[in-house]
Amino acid sequence: MSDPVWTDVCDLDEIDEEDVMRFDHDGRTFAIYRAPDGTPFATDGLCSHEHVHLAGGLVMDDTIECPKHNGRFNYRTGAALRAPVCVNLATYPARIADGRIEILI
């Protein structure tokens, strides 16, 4: 596997604070979040319960609720918080550089 690299995602203001966006890259899909204070975060894009994009869900404080069965994850840690999700999400470092969000994948 090649070394992880910082990958450009989007302008910071393309994602509202306390919201999430889908990001597809290199055959993979990610969910990119901004916390209520604006800090960016990134996780796998698909729910660990079924094949559903988390970007259609609801960000509340530091959780993302899946749009299909309302399972919840902490998007900062990837921890599964509420059934029917039982398996944690992978998380990826995210940062702001020159007004753009980048993630390390």
């Binding site: 509202d16 869900g57 609801l58 299909k68 069965h69 309302n70 029917p84």
Partner: protein
């Protein structure tokens, strides 16, 4: 309205021929149709609030308490009857919508409030809170997909006698208690094992034992005091007060399509009077709920306004929904492949018809 000529015998079990068929044809875990809604609008509709559910739960418990008081105070006289009628519906019907909405975690913003009301309502509606959480998740993944959905109320061909008897509440209560007793004994069916992960099964058995212990204590109290009152208060209302739950619940999907991936074809939105909507927590907006289960009950009327250009016309009343569903269900007794296909408005996207009735 549609029927095909070569009906196949349906197998509604979750481990049978239709299960294999649903998986093979891509009906299981399929992509479903969704009306396009701008992200900002949807985000606003999904917002959680504690206020409406705290208000409704306070009213619910107050009405339960007052009607129970009246039923006991006037016990043995005709004056007790209206109190028990109210108590019955508050216990045996309102529990269903509270179970449902709190199971989704959308009623309250605060998680523990959803969990507390979910546990209480699950007990009242005689559903194991663990097994039914998973069963309902499957109902949302594979809504009315034969062989996949464990919550299909109107199977085809229909057992009309059974559907009628459902209103008396006895059959459903007897089956629910039998199910909880079986789980308390440590046995889960193959169907339950199909949708409940292994790690959750011990919890399902534990909670079934707690429920059975409460029923046993209630029965013991009734025998010790030689009184019906404990049974009128606990368990009994699930029989004598379940009629409203069944009246509203049976029109969610009955008479509509099976094996489709467009909720506009298999779910029904019905305008209802405000009292029924309060008891039912707005689940009369059923197409809307299935399409966007993230939207809490108090925002469903707004969601309906956003979606209605893309939905078949709502039934204007409960009565109208029955006038539509009853002839269809009776016809399904003769023609199991028959279902109602409602016209869409000119503003709607066409139905997603790729997998209809395969």
């Amino acid at each position: 309205m549609t029927a095909t000529t070569d009906p196949h015998i349906r197998d509604y079990s979750l481990t049978g021929t239709d299960t294999a068929r649903a998986k093979a044809t891509g009906l299981a875990n399929a992509e479903w149709y969704h009306t396009d809604v701008p992200r900002k609008v949807m985000k606003d509709l999904m917002q959680r609030r504690d206020g409406p559910a705290i208000r409704d739960t306070a009213i619910w418990f107050a009405v339960l308490g007052l009607s129970a008081w009246g039923g006991i105070a006037f016990w043995g006289t005709w004056g007790a009857v209206p109190f028990w009628l109210i108590y019955g519906v508050m216990y045996g019907s309102a529990c269903d919508s509270r179970w449902h909405e709190c199971g989704h975690g959308t009623a309250f913003r605060t998680g523990w409030m959803n969990d507390v009301v979910y546990q209480i309502a699950s007990f009242m509606v005689v559903r194991n809170p663990v097994t039914w959480r998973w069963s309902h998740a499957r109902h949302h993944t594979d809504t009315i997909i034969v062989g996949r959905d464990p919550e299909i109320a109107c199977m085809r061909p229909p057992n009309v006698f059974r559907l009628l008897m459902a209103y008396a509440g006895v059959i459903d209560m007897a089956e629910s208690i039998r199910g909880i007793a079986r789980q308390a004994g440590g046995t889960l069916t193959d169907g339950e094992k199909d949708y409940i992960p292994e790690s959750e099964r011990p919890k399902a058995i534990l909670v079934a034992r707690v429920h059975m212990a409460i029923y046993a204590a209630t029965l013991a109290l009734a025998l010790a005091t030689w009184s019906w009152i404990p049974l009128m208060l606990i368990g009994g209302p699930r029989i004598y007060g379940a009629w409203h739950m069944l009246m509203t619940g049976l029109i969610q999907h009955c008479g509509l399509a099976e094996n489709v991936t467009d909720h506009r074809l298999n779910s029904r939105t019905v305008y209802m009077n405000p009292v029924s909507r309060w008891i039912y927590w707005n689940m009369n907006y059923h197409v809307e709920h299935h399409m966007f289960p993230m939207v809490p009950y108090h925002a469903l009327p707004r969601l309906h306004e956003v979606l209605k250009h893309d939905l078949p016309a709502a039934n204007p009343s409960i009565w109208d929904a029955y006038r539509e569903a009853i002839p269809a269900v009776l016809r399904q007794a003769r023609e199991p492949d028959y279902y109602i296909r409602k016209p869409l408005p000119a503003t709607a996207q066409p139905y997603k018809m790729d997998t209809v009735n395969v």
